[in-house]
Every structure is written in structure tokens, then in C-alpha cells.
């Protein structure tokens, strides 16, 4: 199960971190060429934290609460490195990549949920 769970963790972390990143004015204007609206910021933050929380829950539920948090932290760091590199070299790809990551997370999550 581990590779599937890890894929969910990486995908959710990437999507969640991207949302949190876009809720910051500097990065929002880098990518969308305008300042973020207050409501958009709140939505992005809520989604970002929720994605990270779901990721932690998935890791804990399928990997156990000993390994889960370890894997959650690892996936967070891995996804964050990817995001920072993308942000620095190909800022245009950040938003599409986050949507893709969400899809990439959804498929194995569906498989996991169906199997359990």
C-alpha cells in the first residue's frame, strides 16, 4: 500500500502547499499578475490547511500513527522542494501542476478507499 499512500501524500501536500503559497501576496502576484482578493486568500488558506490535514489523516489511517506522521513530514518536504523549484524556474506551471497533483492524489485515494 505504501506507494499509493505516498502518492496521495505527495499530491495533497503539493496542492495544499501551493494553495498556501498563492495566499501570500508576493507569490500570488508573481503568478496571476494581480493582488489576491481577501476572500480568495481566505479560501486558499482554508483549502491549503485542509489538504495538509487530510494528507496527515490518510498517512495515519493507512500507515499507522507511528509511520504516518514520519511519512507526512517527508512528503511535505518533498512536495515543498518541488514547489519552490517550480516557482523559481517555471512560475507559470505552478497552478496547473497543483491541479494535476490534486488529481494524482485523488486516483490512489479512491483506490485505497475502495480497497478498505
Amino acid at each position: 500500500m505504501t506507494p499509493l499512500v505516498l502518492a496521495v501524500n505527495l499530491g495533497l501536500s503539493f496542492a495544499g502547499l501551493t494553495a498556501l503559497c498563492l495566499s501570500l501576496n508576493r507569490h500570488h502576484s508573481e503568478i496571476f499578475d494581480r493582488r489576491a482578493e481577501r476572500r480568495a486568500v481566505l479560501r486558499l488558506r482554508a483549502f491549503g490547511w485542509a489538504a495538509l490535514a487530510v494528507s496527515l489523516f490518510v498517512a495515519g489511517a493507512w500507515e499507522g500513527w507511528a509511520f504516518g506522521p514520519v511519512q507526512w513530514f517527508g512528503a511535505l518536504t518533498g512536495a515543498a522542494v518541488g514547489l519552490v523549484l517550480l516557482l523559481s524556474y517555471r512560475p507559470r506551471y505552478v497552478a496547473p501542476a497543483a491541479l494535476t497533483a490534486l488529481l494524482v492524489a485523488a486516483v490512489p485515494l479512491a483506490v485505497l478507499a475502495a480497497a478498505s
Binding site: T2, L20, A66
Partner: protein
């Protein structure tokens, strides 16, 4: 140390980081490599072919052969250690200790025949692993030096968090096109903050693994000086037995091994036989760790004469001991499967990058302004930076290269590999002292790239069973060579960046035409930091 709390923390962060920076970089690089210790060892012993796990009867027969060999060649030894054949390492690894202070004897046997195995003499990944916490010094000295560096690292980490004012606002910020000090500071912050849970965990648990060495007083007090009793309660060892002083014939080892194998499902890893030939002879069977965060090897102690079970130790630890073994387990990450291991490895690389950018920042902040003269301390730091950030990876590459190129039957081969490692490192550390900074970086990084390529070439040319030459070869060689190619590419890019770099015009147009000044560069580890290289700052 003046001014506000934050200023004094900044002072502390800077100087604590500089003092231990180069050693820490070496510890981080070798530690990160140690996540693949077994794979490196296997790559360095290309004669060994992966096999199916051996069953109980097979293990018993090979243990018999090991004991026969030891009875003949090490009759006086107090303790015999028998590493049993494993799928990844299908040989008998025998060690024996005759008296304290003497280096242990060692031989590798073919488990099927009991004759000495045709395997090249090498320390393999174990050299890098032991260097990680002993720096190739006498063990006690090395562990103390590493421990002190780790404690200072913890100080640097905490003070680093305190002085990072915009830790959340700058969480994702990496401005690689700004002035060198800015982009290096960003790289330092990003690699430090994004992997902060790892950095804190690895530094703290690293100290904890050797805590009983650094702070023995708790154990001394609680166990009234009997540290063995502590080791037993922590499941590190089984209860030690003193020799009785009466001779007695040892029971055959085969049935003992078969009984051990039948007891638990974990693979049997090694046997420790102490006081052989004595009435109190003991055979301890040590198993691989069961899957779990905590690092505990199940063990069974047998009476060496009667063959009866004396003691079994497997789990059931009290909370304090469990905490301890879990910390050790987290540090070593034996539990991590291939995917999670890559993430641990990535975090390790970020640690290398954080340390490397940190020590480079120190010198960037002190570059002389136009018209000022450089000072010897700066010159020394700059040379040491090149010598460690480019020099250590070069030395590791030379170590791998020596493994492939030295004659297989060279006497003291494993020592020559290590001499090649240190020779290369010393050379790489001395050359930058005599070269202009920018040239030194450029050449050092290019040298690492070339050496990594040479490792791949030597591997393909000298290994007839390489998957590129023969079908059915071990894919391990492809993975290893692939990683070497990636490293070579990173170092080549870094070297090119240094050579091509021009300071951003806007900020430094007045100064950019002056004499080439020091520059600094990303380490291999620093893939994220492929940004402009400073000439001034």
C-alpha cells in the same frame, strides 16, 4: 555579543555555524550516503550475486563451516562474530576479538564451501557510515568530536529559527536572480526551513544514539555502575556471562541455528559466540529488526555447551527504553521502503545544502569592498569552503574509483581505498589555497563532475556482468551509475554557472569590471541552488 536578543542570536548562529560547518558538511554528506549503505556495499563488492534467502538447514550448515574455520584460525579469541549469509550479502563474514585494543580479525568465507570467498577487500559503504559518526578517528575521539559538532548544530538550528524574522512570509521564497548574498540567504533559508522537521529530528536523535557515551551519569547512578545491566534492559544485548574457568566441549552449532531460525520469523542475521571451549560458552543469535519505527534486534541466548535457550529478548520494552530505541530507529530509518528512503535522502541533501550555503554566506558577508584588501582569515575560509564542498564529493568519487581500479589481489586493498579517499581530499583542500577563488570553485566542481563520470566509465569497463554489457546483470549497477551521472551533471552545471557568472548589472555596474573576486557555488547536494554565482557581495 551585544544588542538585542535577536542580534545576539544572529551572532551565535553565525559563529557556531562557521566553527563546525566543514565537519558538519562531511557528517551530512556521509550520513546521507549511508541511507544507501547496503547498496553502496553491494556495488563495491561486484563479485557477490544476489541469492534467494537461505533456509534454516542451509544457515546451519554454513554456521558449522564458520565455526570450523574459527576453531582452526582463531582458537584464542574471546569472542567470535559470525555474519550469516543474507540475500544481499551471500557470504559468511567472520570477525574475532582476541584482546582489547587489538584490531579484530576478519575474513569472508563462501557459505557453501567454507573456503575463503573470492571477494575484493573493501570496507564498502561501511567506511562512509563509520566516517559519519567517527570521522575515521579512534572511535571514542571521533564520536566525541561528532557529538560536539552535533550539539553545536542544534544550537545553530534553534538560533537560526529565532533570527529568521520572516519564516512564514518567506517560506517559499527563493530569489535566485538577486544579488549573491540575497540568493544564497534564500537558498539557506529554504533548505533549512522546508526540511526543518528533518533537521531537528536528525540532529537530536543523532546525539541521542550516542547519549550514553556523552552523558553516562544517569545510567551509572540508576544501575550503580553496572552499565551492562542497562544494555540488557534496553534489549541491546543479552545478559553477559563470565567464563567459568572449566573447559567443556561446545555443542554443535547447526541445531542451535535451526532452533533459532524456527523461533521467530525475522531473518537470522548473525551469531555472537563468547567463551568458546569454556563451560559458560554462550551463543547469541541476533535477528533482523521487525518492521517498526524502533530499532531493536530480537535476540536469543543459548548455552553453548548444552544448547539450551538461556534467554530471549524481543520487544516488551519499558517506555524509557522504547523511546530510546525509537529515536535511534528514526535516525537510521531502516524502516523506510524505497520511496520513503528517497524522501529521507532528499532531506539529507537539503541538510548538506543548508550547511554549504551557510558557510559560503559567512565569507560572502565579509568580502572586501573595492579598494579594501582581503584578510588571511577570509582567504582561509574561502579555501576551506572549496576544499569541503567540492573536495569531499571528489574524495568520495575517488573512493569509488579506487574500488574499481585497484588490482583485486592488492595486499591491504581496503586500506588503499581509504588512502585514496583521504589523498584526494587533502589534494582538493590544498589546491584552492594556491588558486584564485573563482578558478578554484570552477575547477573543483568540474573535477567532481569528471570524477563521477570516471566512476561510471570504470564501472562499465571493469565489470563484465554489468547490465549494459551482459543481459541479466544486477540492476543495482544501473541505479548506481545513473545517480553518478546525475551528480556529474549537477556539478558540471554548477561549475559552468561559476565560470559564466556576471554580477547583476543594476546593482553592481560600477564594480563589475574589477578584478575577479571570490565566488561561491552550489554543492552537488544543492540542486535547488542553481542560481547566479557571486563575484561580489
Amino acid at each position: 555579543m551585544k544588542g538585542s536578543f535577536r542580534q545576539s542570536m544572529a551572532w551565535l548562529h553565525m559563529w557556531s555555524g562557521l566553527i563546525v560547518g566543514w565537519v558538519l558538511f562531511a557528517i551530512f554528506v556521509t550520513g546521507t550516503a549511508s541511507y544507501y549503505r547496503a547498496d553502496i556495499s553491494r556495488w563495491m563488492r561486484p563479485e557477490l550475486v544476489r541469492v534467494e534467502p537461505t533456509d534454516g538447514a542451509g544457515l546451519a550448515a554454513s554456521a558449522e563451516r564458520a565455526v570450523t574455520y574459527l576453531k582452526e584460525h582463531a582458537p584464542k579469541a574471546r569472542t567470535w562474530f559470525i555474519g550469516l549469509p543474507q540475500p544481499d550479502h551471500p557470504v559468511l563474514d567472520l570477525f574475532w576479538r582476541t584482546r582489547p585494543g587489538e584490531p579484530p580479525g576478519h575474513v569472508t568465507l563462501d557459505p557453501k564451501t567454507g573456503a575463503e570467498a573470492a571477494v575484493r577487500d573493501t570496507k564498502g559503504g561501511d567506511f562512509l557510515y563509520r566516517f559519519h559518526f567517527e570521522l575515521h578517528m579512534p572511535p571514542l575521539w571521533g564520536r566525541w568530536v561528532v557529538g560536539i559538532c552535533a550539539m553545536i548544530m542544534l544550537v545553530a538550528l534553534i538560533s537560526g529559527i529565532v533570527i529568521h524574522k520572516r519564516i512564514f512570509a518567506d517560506f517559499f521564497t527563493f530569489r535566485r536572480d538577486k544579488a549573491p548574498r540575497r540568493s544564497f540567504l534564500d537558498a539557506h533559508n529554504v533548505t533549512g526551513v522546508l526540511a526543518l522537521p528533518f533537521h531537528l529530528m536528525i540532529t537530536y536523535t543523532g546525539i541521542i544514539t550516542l547519549a550514553t557515551l556523552y552523558m553516562p551519569w544517569g545510567v551509572t547512578t540508576a544501575y550503580k555502575g553496572d552499565s551492562q545491566a542497562f544494555f540488557v534492559e534496553a534489549n541491546w544485548i543479552t545478559t553477559p556471562r563470565k567464563p567459568a574457568g572449566r573447559t567443556a566441549e561446545m555443542a554443535p552449532i547447526g541445531p542451535i541455528v535451526e532452533r533459532a531460525v524456527a523461533t521467530w520469523s525475522e531473518p537470522l542475521e548473525r551469531l555472537t559466540i563468547s567463551n568458546h571451549g569454556d563451560a559458560n560458552a554462550t551463543v547469541v543469535a541476533v535477528f533482523e529488526e521487525p518492521h517498526g519505527l524502533s530499532h531493536e534486534h530480537p535476540q536469543i541466548a543459548f548455552d553453548g555447551v548444552s544448547g539450551e535457550i538461556l534467554e530471549t529478548r524481543n520487544g516488551g520494552l519499558k517506555p524509557a527504553a522504547k523511546t530510546f530505541t525509537t529515536m535511534t530507529g528514526l535516525h537510521e530509518a531502516h524502516f523506510a521502503g524505497p520511496a520513503l528512503r528517497i524522501l529521507f535522502f532528499l532531506c539529507g541533501l537539503m541538510g548538506c545544502a543548508m550547511v554549504a550555503t551557510g558557510i559560503v554566506l559567512w565569507s560572502l558577508a565579509r568580502l572586501p569592498k573595492p579598494g579594501e584588501r582581503s584578510f588571511p582569515g577570509l582567504r582561509l575560509v574561502q579555501a576551506l569552503n572549496v576544499g569541503s564542498i567540492a573536495g569531499l564529493p571528489a574524495a568520495v568519487a575517488v573512493y569509488f574509483l579506487a574500488n574499481r581500479l585497484l588490482p583485486v589481489d592488492l595486499a591491504g586493498r581496503e586500506d588503499w581505498e581509504i588512502r585514496a579517499f583521504f589523498g584526494a581530499w587533502i589534494l582538493a583542500a590544498l589546491v584552492p589555497l594556491a588558486r584564485p577563488q573563482r578558478r578554484a570553485w570552477c575547477e573543483g566542481l568540474a573535477a567532481v563532475a569528471v570524477l563521477c563520470l570516471a566512476v561510471v566509465a570504470a564501472d562499465i569497463l571493469t565489470i563484465p556482468g554489468h547490465p549494459l554489457r551482459a543481459s541479466g546483470g544486477d540492476p543495482l549497477f544501473l541505479w548506481f551509475d545513473g545517480s553518478m551521472l546525475v551528480l556529474a551533471a549537477l556539478f558540471a552545471v554548477a561549475s559552468r554557472k561559476v565560470r559564466r557568472y556576471e554580477a547583476p548589472r543594476r546593482e553592481r555596474s560600477a564594480r563589475s569590471e574589477r578584478a575577479p573576486a571570490p565566488s561561491s557555488v552550489p554543492s552537488p547536494a544543492r540542486s535547488p541552488a542553481r542560481h547566479t554565482e557571486p563575484t561580489h557581495a
